[in-house]
């Protein structure tokens, strides 16, 4: 394939899917599948220029707060656990147990402890996104080769210098893999937590629309969530591309 072909093909596929959706929903005449035109107009009038902005902002603030705590917590804990066999052995059974619990199962508990506000949602998102980062960083820290560690010791690179210059860069590709899993998970958790115990957020708008049989608004929220997911992934892709160019290059090299 030429350089431009995959890009054109992807764009073409997306446009065709949209056209198909547009025509099918327009012809459907079903209250469950409102015309795409109405859905998009609803997105524009409610989410972009209307009252939806406040709910959108609330969802995004909680999502980023929870994700930030999950990522930083998972990263720091992963470095500690990954580099100490003692800590790893002591904590692995407990971690396996906590990891097995779906974060959503803790929503009722979190509602009691934190109430119905942001704290509850942030707690659920942080807990759910912590594990993919944590487990990846533990593996990454363990995988640092004997030669890499011997090199650091021999050249007197220790303490914070070793963490900052050697260990942390070496686990970054694994942490990025964890974040790739955590991103869509954070969107799932923000919506779920807003649906069950809240009066703000995209999930709240979605469940309210469903309760008042407003299918156009339901689809509007679904479309919005899809767009948000794509934007989050693309933004992270840009960050990854900048920060981990060396890792991409290294692996391209290995393919020869």
């Amino acid at each position: 394939m030429n350089r431009w072909k995959p890009w054109v093909l992807s764009a073409l596929g997306a446009v065709l899917a949209l056209v198909a959706w547009w025509i099918a929903s327009d012809q459907a005449g079903s209250i469950y599948f409102p015309p795409l035109q109405d859905v998009l107009e609803g997105v524009w009038t409610y989410w972009v220029v209307g009252d939806g902005g406040r709910h959108l902002a609330s969802s995004m603030v909680n999502l980023f707060a929870g994700l930030a705590i999950g990522v930083v917590g998972g990263f720091v804990l992963g470095l500690l656990i990954g580099q100490s066999r003692l800590v790893r052995t002591a904590l692995t059974p407990s971690l396996e147990f906590v990891r097995a619990i779906p974060a959503t199962a803790l929503i009722p508990f979190a509602m009691v402890v934190f109430g119905l506000g942001s704290e509850m949602k942030i707690f659920i998102i942080a807990l759910g996104t912590l594990f993919p980062i944590l487990l990846n960083v533990i593996d990454g820290a363990r995988e640092l080769s004997q030669e890499a560690r011997d090199t650091a010791s021999s050249f007197g690179i220790r303490g914070w210098q070793k963490q900052w210059r050697v260990v942390i860069p070496s686990v970054l590709p694994r942490a990025a893999a964890g974040i790739r899993i955590a991103l869509p998970l954070s969107l799932v958790l923000v919506v779920t937590s807003e649906m069950t115990g809240s009066n703000t957020g995209i999930g709240y708008v979605l469940i309210t629309a469903q309760n008042s049989f407003n299918q156009t608004s339901v689809w509007g929220a679904i479309v919005l969530l899809g767009v948000l997911g794509v934007i989050l992934n693309s933004l992270f892709g840009l960050v990854e591309h900048r920060l981990l160019a060396w890792d991409k290059g290294l692996h391209r090299q290995g393919d020869h």
Partner: protein, 271 residues
């Protein structure tokens, strides 16, 4: 007094499972390395050479025996030593450029930026890597990556360079180039070299003295003085009758060791 004194170095790894036997890797290894000397340890594969080097480098605690460097007991990685490992792809950090890899030990030690830059440029120039500083190690060939590792040890101004089969994974022509580079670098820096290889020709060509070690549990079986002219040349030095004699002497020792010590799988005749 010798610069590096290795005395009765013994390393035994305890049995990992009940019923398994402990692994006896080093069995009283004793030798001296003099200041400014090129000292090579040669032996069959599986002779615990890497374990020996890790003990000498202060990376691994010996079960018994001691290592003294310049009169001080080695009980951790000493400042005066710098390693060059066989696997350059692991010992050079892929997230750092060539220049930053060479600079890292210096910046970690808190040396001022201007001096770091100066030392890095000088070291890269002396291994023939001028102008490659902004590249990443993985963008270079294997031989060039090993040059970066040598430059890192030079910029660190180590008194003793410890090289563990550094040229084992490069092709023959590159290997010859790197051997000559090492001799040039040694001449310029005046550093002491402790070199490990399983290649007898390489050992004789590079060294002032060669120690032959047996298969594990290893000990020094023979010390050979290499009385070849100081100026070495891949063609003329290797054509000298003395070169052939030294080579044969070391070969015979290794072969005798390998045949005389049958392993559990039966005697092994090929090195």
């Amino acid at each position: 007094m010798a610069l590096l004194e290795v005395r009765d170095l013994t390393k035994t790894y305890p049995a990992t499972r009940r019923g398994a036997r402990a692994t006896h890797v080093l069995d009283g290894v004793t030798f001296d390395v003099n200041r400014g000397e090129f000292f090579t340890i040669v032996g069959p594969s599986g002779a615990g050479k890497t374990t020996l080097l890790r003990c000498i480098s202060g990376l691994l605690r010996p079960t018994e025996g001691s290592v003294t460097l310049d009169g001080r007991l080695v009980d951790g990685p000493p400042r005066e030593l710098a390693p060059v490992f066989q696997d350059y792809s692991r010992s050079l950090y892929p997230w750092l450029t060539v220049a930053k890899n060479v600079a890292l030990p210096l910046t970690s030690a808190g040396i001022a930026k201007a001096e770091v830059d100066d030392r890095v440029q000088h070291a890269l120039a002396s291994v023939g890597l001028k102008g490659e500083d902004a590249k990443y190690p993985w963008q270079l060939s294997g031989g060039m990556q090993q040059r970066v590792a040598i430059a890192r040890a030079l910029a660190y101004r180590a008194e003793v360079l410890i090289l563990d089969e550094p040229f084992a994974s490069v092709d023959a022509q590159t290997r010859a180039d790197l051997e000559d580079l090492l001799l040039k670098v040694k001449h310029e820096s005046g550093a002491t070299f402790l070199f490990v290889t399983h290649d007898v020709d390489e050992a004789v060509y590079l060294s002032d003295r060669v120690a032959v070690v047996s298969k594990s549990p290893s000990r020094i079986e023979k010390l050979v003085d290499v009385h070849l002219p100081a100026e070495r040349n891949q063609l003329t030095t290797k054509a000298l009758p003395e070169f052939g004699e030294l080579r044969a002497e070391i070969f015979a020792t290794i072969r005798h060791l390998v045949v005389a010590k049958p392993t559990a799988q039966g005697p092994e005749y090929v090195i």
